[in-house]
Amino acid sequence: MSEERPESPLLLFDACCLINLFASGRIEEILDCLPFRCATSRLVASREVLAIAVEGAATEPLGREVMPPGRLESMSNLALLDFETDQELAGFVGFALELDDGEASVCSLAVARGGGVATDDRKALRIMGGLTPPVPTVQTPELLYEWVERLKLPEAEIRSALRQVQRRGRFYPRVDAPRFEWWETFSQR
């Protein structure tokens, strides 16, 4: 069970980041040790298909493991947020002019509630960075780095988690992503 951290900043996860954490096989553990109040939108939880590839499947068509409905709801360290105000609804519609509904909902809630966004999506990162004031963003390599540093995990465990994200989530960080060097070093060791 995560400890209460009411003073911690709010971090809204988009589907892209949730898939990566799911692929690592350690999602609950990672969320638990982050210095944030972790959340996502109920819209993401109800509409997004959070699927990862089945480990070991090298040929097409790939097997899929879909996060079971209700798993996000059952996570004690991830809050599901609904729109509560007209400002949040208007923000959602505004972001939906440029993003898909899941991404727009997360961005709107983050802006309205003074939080940050956990995403690896280049477009979402650009839009969040272009707001005044910019909305803070965190990317998957930073989240995993934080987890590793806090728990002082052994190298083999780090490598395994990173490779799982690559293989099962089909995710490779961009070269300009924060902690890219760290990711490359550990995933290739």
Partner: protein
């Protein structure tokens, strides 16, 4: 951000989308009003762009229509009459006992998505359309042979098999080609809009050989009646209209040109003093990526084998799939099940790499989930090393080195 972000949206485009989505649901304005708790006159005003929607209303509309808010907002105005003209292209005698509207709508949305990708990447599809051919008063079969030869010559295709027909029609002619899951009785659809150009949808449920024949068939329609919308049904009726007879004959002649087929057949025959075999027929069909029935009927038509050969094979219950397996006649070209062309996928990946599409939008535009989108992006752009991804949008030569 303003109080109502919809103030920045083109009201006519959004109004057209709302009307289109309502009609796709088959609801009257009164019915939609009842569901929203609004008067019919309010719906009329919304659809005429005389009343601006509020964010809460738009979200509720999207929920009722079963669409995403972003879809209602981001799609451009639907081209005038696309859906209506396709629906009216349905032959009166067509065996339709299902709702065609969702399929027509999906066809239209794919065309819109394609156009949007081209706009983002700034690479419009180049149209190399031939002049429209007039076959009035000419025998349909003869016109088909002549036109197929003329098109092959125009496109520098020689007399060999057309291995990637879809790519050819897209890149060398400028038609948009999609593979959709359509009701089994529909072979394909053809539509034309000023913004899209010629667009073809082929039934993905059909075997690849039949799909190629359907694609060539629709191309035949395009050559003689470019602006005429068409829904082609699988039909066995005897008295076909002249345009249908032409399109069928064109497909055969375009895919299996007389000179090339004759030459290959005679080569097979020379190698077989005892006469051509079932296996030779299978190999010939395989090399042209057509069905055994198609090649056999074509050989009959060219008087290279006796009339009635296909009927005899059919009566003998010749098992094509088994023969193909035994002769090891499977190939990648025989399993072309991708709904979108390589060009479409490459543009989508490029738009995503440019940061003009989010991952969710990429998935929506490729009609897959996010993992599927990542897989397609990696497959399209992987440079060999892990994570070494080719940036499709990067110029090959800097201006100084040109």
């Amino acid at each position: 951000m303003t109080d109502n972000p919809l103030a920045a949206v083109d009201p006519r485009g959004l109004a057209a989308r709302v009307r289109e989505a309502r009609e796709a649901r088959g609801w009257t304005q009164q019915e939609l009003g009842d569901r929203l708790g609004m008067a019919r006159t309010t719906i009329v005003a919304i659809e005429k762009a005389e009343r601006r929607l509020k964010p809460r209303e738009l979200i509720e509309l999207a929920r009722l229509f079963g669409r995403s808010v972003s879809e209602l907002l981001q799609r451009s105005s639907p081209p005038e009459g696309f859906s209506v003209q396709l629906r009216s292209a349905l032959p009166v005698s067509a065996p339709v006992d299902y709702d065609l509207v969702p399929y027509i709508e999906e066809f239209q949305h794919r065309c819109e998505d394609y156009l949007r990708l081209e706009e983002i990447c700034r690479v419009p599809l180049r149209r190399r359309y031939p002049p429209e051919y007039d076959i009035q008063g000419v025998d349909a079969d003869q016109a088909a042979e002549d036109l197929a030869a003329a098109e092959r010559s125009r496109l520098d295709l020689g007399e060999g098999p057309l291995l990637s027909l879809r790519d050819l029609l897209e890149t060398d002619v400028g038609l948009r080609v999609f593979q959709l899951n359509l009701p089994s009785k529909i072979a394909g659809m053809f539509a034309f809009a000023a913004s899209f150009g010629g667009c073809i949808a082929i039934n993905l449920r059909h075997p690849v050989e039949r799909r190629r024949m359907s694609l060539a068939h629709e191309y035949g329609h395009f050559l003689i009646a470019r602006f005429r919308f068409e829904i082609t049904f699988e039909s066995r009726y005897e008295r076909r209209p002249s345009a249908e007879r032409f399109a069928e004959a064109f497909a055969r002649a375009f895919l299996m040109p007389a000179s090339g087929v004759r030459r290959r057949f005679l080569e097979h025959e020379r190698e077989r003093p005892q006469g051509i075999t079932y296996g030779d027929l299978c190999r010939l069909a395989h090399s042209y990526l057509v069905s055994l029935e198609a090649i056999t009927r074509r050989l009959e038509e060219l008087r290279l084998i006796p009339l009635g050969t296909w009927e005899r094979l059919r009566q003998e219950r010749f098992r094509v799939d088994e023969a193909r397996h035994i002769l090891d006649l499977e190939s990648a070209a025989h399993t072309d099940d991708a709904p979108f062309s390589p060009r479409y996928i490459a543009l989508a990946v490029e738009a995503w790499q440019l940061g003009e599409l989010s991952e969710g939008q990429l998935a929506q535009i490729l009609r897959v989930d996010r993992l599927g989108a990542r897989e397609l992006a990696l497959a399209a752009a992987e440079g060999g090393d892990q994570g070494a991804v080719v940036n499709f949008g990067a110029p090959l030569l800097s201006s100084g080195t040109r």
